[in-house]
């Protein structure tokens, strides 16, 4: 059996749990632990971080033993485009107004798919932007600037 840890499902899951637990434990060292009678702000996080690391270790060892692989391919491109869409929208919202931000975001999100047809995406963008305006600005009355010249 070849040891393939990069695609080992449980090894990676365990590694993730241990890392999160270790970071949490390290950060919680700055918070007073207190005692069982008077729990400090560091008590609960440190206990939890310890438990998480224990679980992580168990899952990791189990992964090395079983060698089960991650199922299917990773959708890194789709994940990147979608998270980028959120980040760019958030960044643009305060700068160029809601309508242009939505247009940019819609195109970025649509790029995550397998097919990208310019005409189709353009029509959808217009329709959905209008819908978003109707729901959020007209319906819920949120006070956002629509374009950059509204500033």
């Amino acid at each position: 059996m070849k040891l393939d840890l990069v695609n080992n499902k449980d090894f990676l899951a365990g590694l993730l749990m241990i890392s999160v637990g270790a970071i949490a434990f390290y950060m919680a060292l700055d918070y007073p632990f207190g005692s069982a009678l008077r729990m400090g702000p560091g008590y609960f996080p440190r206990v939890l971080a310890g438990i998480l690391m224990t679980f992580g270790l168990y899952v990791m060892i189990r992964g090395i033993k079983s060698g089960e692989k991650v199922e299917g391919a990773w959708g890194w491109k789709a994940l990147a485009m979608i998270t980028l869409a959120f980040v760019v929208f958030g960044w643009l919202m305060d700068r160029i107004g809601m309508i242009p931000s939505l247009v940019v975001m819609f195109f970025l999100a649509a790029l995550a798919g397998h097919q990208f047809k310019w005409l189709e995406v353009t029509i959808l963008t217009v329709l959905m932007t209008a819908f978003a305006w109707a729901v959020f600005i007209w319906g819920l009355g949120l006070p956002y600037r629509l374009f950059w010249w509204d500033y």
């Binding site: 998480l52 998270t83 958030g90």
Partner: protein
């Protein structure tokens, strides 16, 4: 009887034009997402949660719960007509429902599914009305040790009873509890796990976590594969079930409702497990089990009643104790929290209009669903023609604007992106996100009750075992853990024996 005056109050609230409109909207959206594969109630509720922040609490909850139980109705339609389960809970319905459709009996199958769901919905609503008040009253007497033990039991049970890997589910609960700590500690005023980001001193937003974990990861997962499902359309001729159909479905509906109500109220077990169990029950009860899988109407009636009963009864612990048993219920509780309502047994007495209005709206919603579903079946099927590449950017757009609208802060969107990455990686590594969000919701409450319990007992941890109610919760959690571990050990033992002997 107090219950009647309460129900009258509930119907007064639910029948107001605004609330009726949100109920209608909720069940419409619910049916639509039930029909569409790849978009479930979790994604939809996560997407709409931030928007409900701008609504009043009652219409917000009425709409969100309508989406949840509405999706149980919609899920059966495509299972029967196309062998395409819109929801995990309707996978079982495919087995016999699709066979019935192939035999030209799609109409009766759809009708029985709707009738069964409606019956289950009525019973479920009644159960909440009957058991809600006494449960809440009992819970009001709970002290900190009882509460801590109850939450521990709910989390352990939710992690152990849900399908999939128990150890990973428990680890995800702990991960969620840790994430719940983010923010300012109420007792010391210390900012914990804030990573120097000022927005995080108020805690991680609930909607941020929900959208990242459920919406983003689900969409990316759906985009991994290029395979597009084929779409068949079959003609539905006769909707009316025969008298024989009704007769043979009566007991399966009743049994399915009972199974669903039981599993629905338990933490960790939801509509999917209920539907599966109901199917097994029917197969065992049948005189001729070989008919199953070949278009037995009992195989549609039982599971369809069970999944709807489970969807309704899941509200019992959520509304009366403030303890959610599943991911969707955690989102419901989050909807309450972002409205500034602290969930727990006091909701029923402090906000009777919310509690009883929601119950009344559920009954009305079930009625609306029958009326909507049967005659409009053709229209719902048309929804399947919408390609996913049109849907997902629209979902993302709603998630983004909605999350921005809560704090008007770009930081929330950056955090959604981070949570999305975390959620996707967890999903690929088969770490279930539902226990994480349960832990996240209950985290701050658990810490507070643990602290108080230990303060009362002067630091003595046996306090959880000396008080009878707390002790029984602790014993139940231990019991659930043990029965889940033992079969695994047994299996391993058998394997070892097998390997040794072979």
């Amino acid at each position: 009887m107090e219950i009647f005056s309460n129900l009258i109050l509930g119907f007064q609230v639910a029948l107001s034009l605004q609330n009726l409109a949100y109920c209608f909207l909720g069940v419409m959206v619910g049916t639509a997402i039930g029909v569409l594969p790849g978009i479930g109630p979790l994604v939809t509720i996560a997407m709409l949660l931030p928007i409900t922040f701008n609504l009043a609490p009652i219409p917000a909850l009425i709409m969100l719960s309508g989406i949840y139980y509405g999706s149980q109705y919609g899920g059966s339609t495509t299972s029967i007509l196309m062998n395409l389960p819109g929801e995990t809970a309707s996978v079982v319905t495919c087995i016999d429902g699709y066979q019935m459709a192939k035999q030209g009996r799609a109409g009766p199958a759809l009708a029985i599914a709707a009738v069964g769901s409606f019956f289950a919905g009525c019973v479920g609503t009644l159960l909440i009305a009957l058991f809600g008040p006494p449960l809440a009253e009992a819970a009001l007497k709970f002290g900190a040790p009882e509460y801590f033990a109850l939450m521990l039991m709910a989390l352990v049970a939710a992690a152990c009873l849900s399908s999939g890997d128990m150890v990973k589910a428990l680890a995800m609960v702990v991960f969620g509890l840790l994430m719940g700590i983010i923010g300012t500690d109420v007792n010391s005023g210390m900012a914990r796990f804030s990573f120097g980001i000022s927005e995080l001193t108020d805690g991680m937003g609930f909607t941020v976590v929900a959208v990242g974990l459920f919406a983003v990861s689900e969409i990316v997962k759906n985009l991994e594969t290029t395979v597009q499902g084929e779409i068949f359309t079959s003609k539905i001729k006769n909707l009316m079930p025969t008298l024989a159909d009704l007769k043979s479905s009566f007991w399966p509906i009743v049994r399915g409702t009972a199974v669903g109500s039981f599993f629905g109220a338990l933490p960790g077990t939801g509509p999917a497990i209920s539907a599966f169990s109901a199917y097994m029950v029917e197969k065992k009860m049948a005189k001729d089990p070989s008919r199953f899988g070949k278009g037995a109407i009992e195989g549609v009636a039982g599971p369809e009643s069970a999944n709807n009963a489970a969807a309704q009864c899941a509200f019992i612990p959520t509304l009366t104790l403030g303890i959610p048993g599943s991911g969707v219920m955690a989102l419901m509780l989050g909807a309450l929290t972002i409205q500034g309502i602290a969930p727990g047994p006091q909701v029923m007495t402090a906000k009777p209009d919310l509690f009883w209005g929601l119950i009344a709206s559920m009954w009305l919603g079930n009625l609306l669903l029958v009326v909507l579903n049967l005659p409009l079946v053709g229209m719902w099927v048309q929804l399947l023609k919408i390609p996913y590449r049109w849907l997902f950017p629209s979902i993302i757009m709603f998630c983004a604007v909605g999350n921005y609208s809560i704090n008007n802060s770009p930081m929330d969107l950056y955090l959604v992106a981070i949570m999305g990455i975390v959620g996707y990686i967890l999903m690929k590594l088969e770490c279930p996100p539902a226990p994480l969000i349960l832990g996240f919701v209950l985290g701050p409450l658990m810490e507070e009750n643990l602290r108080r319990a230990l303060l009362i007992s002067r630091g003595d941890p046996t306090v959880f075992f000396t008080r009878p109610i707390s002790l029984s919760f602790m014993l139940l959690s231990a019991f659930v853990l043990i029965i889940m571990i033992v079969p695994q050990m047994r299996k391993k033992k058998e394997q070892a024996i097998h390997e040794g002997g072979g």
